[in-house]
């Protein structure tokens, strides 16, 4: 960092508002060139907004952005690109039906006519130069997530990128994939590229970044400070901030991803070893489902008072597992028993009556009808336990819903408001209040904390723990290993529709990670 080199990025008093919500408030920060800068914070802290402002995708309401000493016109993607800024999105933006070469060509420069073989030759050379092991002729949709991400990075580096921003790049990766990504990033750094990493795990920050900056509630609370001068405890304090509720040490570590690699915490297990299992899947194989690989010979038992975690890189059959348990995916062989009762051919309505509850993956699509009222959303489960022609009393349902939502600490104005008007955390609480009632026996929680802030995440964990104490069986599907290791009594890893390993505490993240990528098979 010489005196004459201007900082690669210099933000001055950047403020972004979405309606009444202030996503970024007076953020002033500058990043030196040639280093790896981490930006951390909980969900909703404004990290993604920050990345988008720099890339010119969001026009800040106030403030200015300078890149390499030059003022950027507000909200211009092209100008940011010309200045060498490239953003790799959290959710990949590559068209699935394109070949790698096509995606590179049209995602970056675009325009002129080429033949396919010309395109492929041209981009294969680029991929090889970056040491990315992908064929230029492959279709994006056929690539595993790690490779898709590599292609995204390669695409971002087509032009002479000086500043590469990666938004939550590790969210979709296995521990091993993360390590590979970090190697690539270090390589880029040595080639003179400045990198901004949006992350939310302290462990990863400390492993890779040169400096770290912390965002909380849209404000810059720290940074950039050198990573060598800060420790995990201090960082996790900065990220969480003055917490409304006391968090236990392990939850705190899990929330901020600062736990050590060998996880010794054992959840407050309430299981009863002698009791018959609540869920008993025996050698279940399913038809191909369109939502991922079919299940192949999956056996899984959950006893009362036990939380079983399903780990795995996304898209390895977790969705099919939940759909098969919910009678939404066809089971071709094997049996499923719920609370000792065979339900293999029973439709979801019957399984729900028998005590199955599902917190689905997609909160806003599968969990709630956003344009319907809260009380209608909440009543749906109750209504479906009777016949379609049974009478209802809306006023009674509304008041039942009101007391349930109050018990679950949902922040809302009236039960007649649309579900879409709630924040992510509150919307999830509405689903919890519906799915975690007293009659619940087996609760499937699919990514229940995704996108939630720390307070809401801790709330969900509490709720799962209470259900465990009530002797419910719980199946937790999550792509967050810290979450799984913190609260599960047992972990299974899914790989290509199979159970690739079963782990008991104390968990060893390295062995779980190996099972996720198929390097080793445990038991």
């Amino acid at each position: 960092m010489s005196e004459t080199t201007p900082p690669v990025l210099d933000c001055h008093d950047v403020t972004v508002r979405f309606g009444d919500v202030v996503a970024l408030s007076d953020v002033s920060i500058s990043f030196a060139s040639g280093a790896i800068h981490a930006v951390v914070g909980q969900n909703g802290a404004g990290k993604t907004t920050f990345a988008r402002v720099i890339a010119g995708l969001i026009d800040p309401d106030e403030g200015s952005v300078r890149i390499s000493g030059r003022d950027m016109p507000k909200g211009s993607v092209n100008d940011a690109r010309r200045a060498g800024v490239e953003l790799v999105h959290q959710n990949f933006a590559l068209p699935p039906s394109f070949t790698v070469a096509e995606a590179m060509q049209f995602g970056g420069a675009g325009g002129k006519l080429y033949t396919r073989s010309q395109l492929e030759r041209r981009w294969q050379a680029h991929l090889d130069a970056l040491n990315i092991n992908v064929k230029a002729g492959q279709r994006i949709r056929d690539l595993p997530v790690e490779s898709q991400q590599s292609v995204e990075i390669a695409r971002a580096l087509v032009t002479d990128a000086k500043l590469l921003i990666l938004d939550e790049p590790t969210a979709v990766l296995s521990p091993e994939g993360t390590e590979k990504l970090f190697e690539r990033i270090r390589h880029l750094k040595s080639a003179g590229v400045t990198i901004i990493l949006i992350l939310h795990k302290i462990r990863e920050v400390l492993a890779i970044a040169d400096t770290v900056s912390v965002l909380r509630g849209g404000k810059l609370v720290e940074g950039p400070v050198a990573c060598s001068g800060i420790d995990a405890d201090k960082l996790s304090e900065l990220i969480i901030g003055p917490s409304a509720r006391p968090l236990d040490e392990d939850d705190r570590a899990a929330l901020t991803g600062s736990a050590s690699l060998l996880h010794t915490h054992v959840g407050a297990s309430a299981q009863d070893g002698a009791a018959p299992p609540i869920l008993d899947m025996k050698s279940v194989s399913s038809a191909p489902d369109g939502d991922g690989p079919p299940l192949a010979d999956v056996s899984l038992a959950i006893r009362p008072g036990e939380i079983v975690g399903v780990a795995g890189v996304e898209g390895n059959g977790q969705r099919t597992l939940v759909r098969a348990l919910s009678a939404l995916a066809e089971v071709q062989s094997g049996t499923i028993a719920l609370d000792g009762k065979q339900v293999t051919t029973m439709p979801l309505q019957g399984r729900r009556i028998a005590g199955l509850r599902v917190i689905p993956f997609e909160r806003n699509v599968e969990g709630l009808s956003l344009t319907s009222s809260l009380w209608e959303n909440w009543s749906a489960r109750k209504l479906l336990q009777g016949s379609l022609l049974s009478w209802i009393r809306p006023s009674a349902l509304r008041s039942e819903c009101k007391s349930a939502l109050d018990t679950w600490d949902v922040r809302y104005a009236t039960v007649a408001q649309r579900a879409g008007s709630l924040s992510g955390g509150n919307a999830q609480k509405v689903i919890l209040s519906r799915e975690m009632d007293e009659d619940a026996r087996l609760i499937i929680a699919a990514q229940p904390t995704r996108g939630l802030d720390i307070g809401a995440t801790a709330f969900v964990w509490d709720a799962l723990d209470k259900a465990r104490r009530r002797k419910c069986g719980i199946l937790l599907i999550s792509s967050d290993l810290d979450e799984i290791m913190d609260i599960c009594d047992r972990v299974v890893v899914m790989l290509s529709g199979r159970i690739a390993g079963t782990f008991e505490p104390p968990y060893d993240i390295a062995r779980i990670g190996a099972a996720m990528t198929g390097v080793a098979h445990d038991r």
Binding site: G19, Q349, V358, V365, L368, T371, S379, A380, I392
Partner: protein, 346 residues
């Protein structure tokens, strides 16, 4: 409740805007906007017997519109009300023909039953195609309208043809006066009673049964309802059947009440006006009653437009179309805004 009041008020604003637009168009074309408004007001609402006229057109429209609202609420865009209306009337006409001579208290209920079953069947096949193989019900029900129109031409110029008919329009033999449920003015206690029964029972179905709530939820988000374990096809099929049966019922009323016979191509805009009513009412049953009376009034005003304002009576179609344009633009607009907002927040 307040929600539906707000939406009715909003619909009224759009109707007024549509009327003003029509006034501008007509005055550019050289007609008097003032006379247009007075013709509509007089014809529809102020003159003696205006309420009777509004009821004559409005009651059958209301019944069809309720059916449309029920299928739209469940998320199925059954726009085949016109066809279901025709098929209902045709079935009732056949039954009346076959049972001719039997006492009225036998014939009339049988005709109504036949009309409702006919309408329901005409909605059932697009429903089955949609639910079993995903065929778009907008296309199939629309095609069904043309098929039913041609069927009506066949029936009135074939099996039920009135040989003595002298007019250019093919029509069926007139019904025996004993089987008529109203005179040709078209309002009678029977018809009012049927409309009230339909309104009440469908209001209860929508607002006081599991079916009503689940179909409302399914219409807005079928995926969520599937994850709750609902059998979507049950809700869907029932919605198709109910909406078809109600259109068929309206067809039967028109046959046995004001018309007294089938005529090829009679009331060609009934189904679409009913869709318009359901949309104006934002798919609420009570709202449909209000909107149906309003559009019934407009229909009777059609007769006054030539007399008072010198406009062709088809001007009322232009007015209806303008209202339709504004109402559909309204929901599009609101959708657009909602989507934009959710993107900004996401």
């Amino acid at each position: 409740m307040t929600d539906s009041l707000v939406s009715i008020a909003r619909a009224l604003v759009f109707i007024v805007v549509a009327l003003v637009l029509c006034a501008v168009i007509f005055s550019i074309a050289g007609f008097s906007a003032e006379l247009m408004f007075s013709a509509i007001l007089d014809g529809a609402f102020l003159r003696n017997g205006a309420l009777n006229h509004a009821l004559r057109w409005g009651l059958p429209l209301f019944i069809t519109a309720v059916g449309v609202a029920i299928s739209f609420r469940a998320g199925y865009f059954n726009i085949g009300a016109q066809g279901q209306f025709y098929v209902g009337a045709i079935c009732a006409a056949f039954v009346a023909e076959w049972t001719s001579g039997a006492p009225a208290f036998v014939v009339i209920p049988l005709c109504f039953l036949a009309g409702m079953i006919g309408g329901a069947l005409w909605a059932l096949w697009p429903g089955l195609l949609r639910l079993r193989s995903g065929a778009d019900e907008v296309i199939t029900t629309l095609m069904g309208n043309f098929l039913a129109g041609l069927l009506l031409v066949y029936v009135t110029s074939g099996p039920l043809k009135d040989q003595s008919g002298s007019g250019q329009q093919a029509s069926s033999r007139p019904l025996d006066a004993a089987y008529r449920i109203s005179n040709s003015l078209g309002v009678s206690p029977t018809i009012i009673a049927i409309a009230v029964i339909v309104g009440l029972s469908m209001w209860l179905l929508v607002n006081r049964t599991s079916f009503g709530m689940m179909s409302g939820l399914a219409g807005r988000n079928p995926t969520m309802v599937t994850w709750q374990g609902a059998k979507l096809w049950k809700v869907g099929l029932a919605s198709f059947i109910i909406s078809g049966a109600l259109a068929g019922l309206a067809g039967t009323i028109e046959l046995m009440g004001p018309n007294g016979r089938l005529a090829s191509g009679f009331l060609p805009a009934h189904g679409f006006t009913a869709i318009l009513i359901a949309l104006v009412a934002n798919l609420s049953i009570l709202g449909s009653a209000v909107a149906a009376l309003f559009f019934g009034g407009l229909a009777s005003a059609a007769l006054y437009l030539p007399v008072i304002a010198g406009l062709p009576s088809s001007a009322i179609d232009i007015i209806n179309a303008a209202i339709a344009l504004f109402i559909t633009a309204r929901s599009q607009l609101i959708d657009r805004i909602m989507r934009f907002r959710s993107r900004a927040n996401g």
